[in-house]
């Protein structure tokens, strides 16, 4: 982990944030503030989705605008299995991961043939396809969504109904995925992916099978996000097509860019900032979008490298 934590302002903020996140259940227990628990569990889960998006978008330069589809697929895998009487998490979660990976394989195989704005729009269109398919699934609630009456069962190993336990499970899985992604991008495989981001033609000329590498990367990100989707379904006890509408994918992109592309903890910082900003604005004004929207525009125009970049520049 020493690669992750050099001494600089960015890491000071990261470590501070991790300590705060670790203490949230304690704070909630002391003050009786259950809302904080709900909000921050959601933050952790979406941060995990953002971490997976950062793998392809930040490190791989693959601007996928359909990442919410994997959240939805993971969630629907859990919801559909639960409705059909398969309550075991040992089945639900692997299925959620497998379905998302398979969808990522198909979408990746088709969309990685294209470049630039085509890639953005095609990933967007395929995600929207999943959204419409979910609306068409009348048996599983169609447009209205489906309530999950029983959270995934782990045979007495972990009780997901215990909010504190669930929170720390999400926290552990988030840290594990950050670790996994940072190990991955610093491996030979990851360096080839990052090389392809800067100059794909050169990487191909050196002899790397760039298409295959990118596809594998795309599938890993999809699978990881599928797991986040399974967590999200367990968190909300509810799935609906709305969780994968394309503006959700936009939210995920905002989280990654806001925190800092291609930085290990950027997605987490971005998710915390975005969701808390949203929450704070909706408390002080009836029209949060009036302020949130222009903020995003200003971030896009002025804040190169997101919050991570901002802290970097402040460094002595």
């Amino acid at each position: 982990m020493s690669v992750l934590f050099e001494r600089n302002p960015r890491n000071a903020v990261t470590i501070g944030l991790l300590v705060i996140l670790a203490l949230i259940p304690l704070y909630a227990a002391l003050t009786g503030n259950t809302f904080a628990m709900t909000l921050f569990t959601r933050v952790l889960i979406l941060a995990m989705a953002a971490v997976s998006l950062n793998l392809i978008m930040g490190y791989g330069g693959m601007v996928s605008f359909g990442h919410a589809a994997y959240l939805g697929l993971g969630g629907y895998a859990v919801g559909i299995l639960a409705k059909e009487g398969v309550g075991s998490g040992f089945i639900q979660w692997p299925v959620a991961i497998a379905v998302s990976a398979l969808f990522a394989l198909i979408v990746g195989a088709l969309s990685l043939r294209t470049r630039g704005v085509y890639f953005i729009m095609i990933t967007l269109a395929f995600a929207q396809m999943v959204y419409y398919v979910a609306i068409g699934l009348d048996r599983y609630g169609g447009d209205d969504g489906l309530t999950i009456y029983k959270r995934s069962q782990f045979g007495g190993l972990i009780d997901l109904n215990n909010k504190t336990l669930f929170y720390y499970l999400c926290f552990a899985l988030l840290l594990a995925s950050i670790y996994l992604v940072s190990r991955l991008v610093n491996s030979r495989f990851g360096l080839a992916i990052q090389g392809a981001r800067s100059n794909e033609r050169r990487m191909r000329a050196i002899g790397f099978p760039v298409f295959r590498y990118k596809l594998v990367c795309f599938v890993i990100a999809g699978a990881l996000c599928g797991l986040a989707g399974a967590l999200l379904a367990n968190h909300t006890n509810f799935i609906s097509p709305a969780m994968m509408f394309w503006t959700r994918s936009g939210d995920l992109m905002v989280m990654v860019v806001l925190g800092g592309l291609a930085t290990p903890f950027g997605p987490l910082v971005g998710t915390v900032t975005y969701l808390l900003l949203e929450e704070a604005l909706s408390r002080v004004t009836e029209y949060p979008g009036l302020f949130l929207g222009p903020t995003l525009l200003l971030v896009a125009i002025y804040l190169h490298g997101g919050i991570a970049g901002l802290l970097e520049r402040r460094a002595p």
Binding site: T114, V117, L137, V257
Partner: protein, 305 residues
Amino acid sequence: MLYFIEQLLNGVQLGMLLFLLAAGLTLIFGIMDLVNLAHGSLYMLGAYFAATFAALTGSFVLGAILALTATFVSGVALEVIAIRPLYGRSHLDQVLGTFGLLLFFNELVRLVWGPAGMTLSLPSAMLTAVQIIPGVYYPAYRLVIIAATLAVAALLYILVMRTRLGMLIRAGASNREMVGALGVNIKLLYTLVFGLGAALAGFAGLMQAPILTVQIGMGENILILAFVVIIIGGIGSIRGAFVAAIIVGLIDTLGRAFLPDLLRAMINTNAALTLAPALSSMSIYMLMAGILVFRPEGLFPAASK
């Protein structure tokens, strides 16, 4: 058979609307290299302006003209204030910035017009159904939509291919720097093109307003369809957008109308019944995937830059 003709016309009508949106998107992308997610917001604004002005003036046509002007002006203002800094930036920055604009416009509409939707009633002459061929009746207003959008498409063709402004637009699409170097006011050209795209989106919105409920977020679904259209047609190509819009409109409408029955006839299982509505909404994406396998740049790739 009668039902088929009706659905065919519905498909053409959806296609024409998609063309109005896709033409603006593809122009803006082709010339300014800008991914504009706020395009659907302009469509929504067009519809809201139409409903408001029609109610104020008491005339649908007058309301439509005012709404069109208002959307053009909004587009120009949007370009000058918010879009300009995004030119020449990465597509990711543009996606982020225009996504912010989309959130802003949704909220602005909620602030100005309230959270409830609006309706726009038509003059009684357009409410009747016309007999198009013996035995087949079709709502007059939908025919008006088809005719009006065809006229706009023709005007757009003349504008782009036969006028001096169109010449500059085409030149801008093939080599931006060169056009600027030749002394053309490229800033003004960009603003005009953005305004034109906004007006086209607004026109689509105001024509659609009497058929749908005018509501917040109405542009978000149709924007994705417009994206599919320009992917299939080839980004930057207006001709491609036209052909692809008709194809997508027809396949989407006919797929929804006939695919579930077709599936039921072929495989009569419960699974098929459950999946039929889901599958029918996949048809255009299947088409897009199929076309991408053979032509990753779309049907009519614009001249390479």
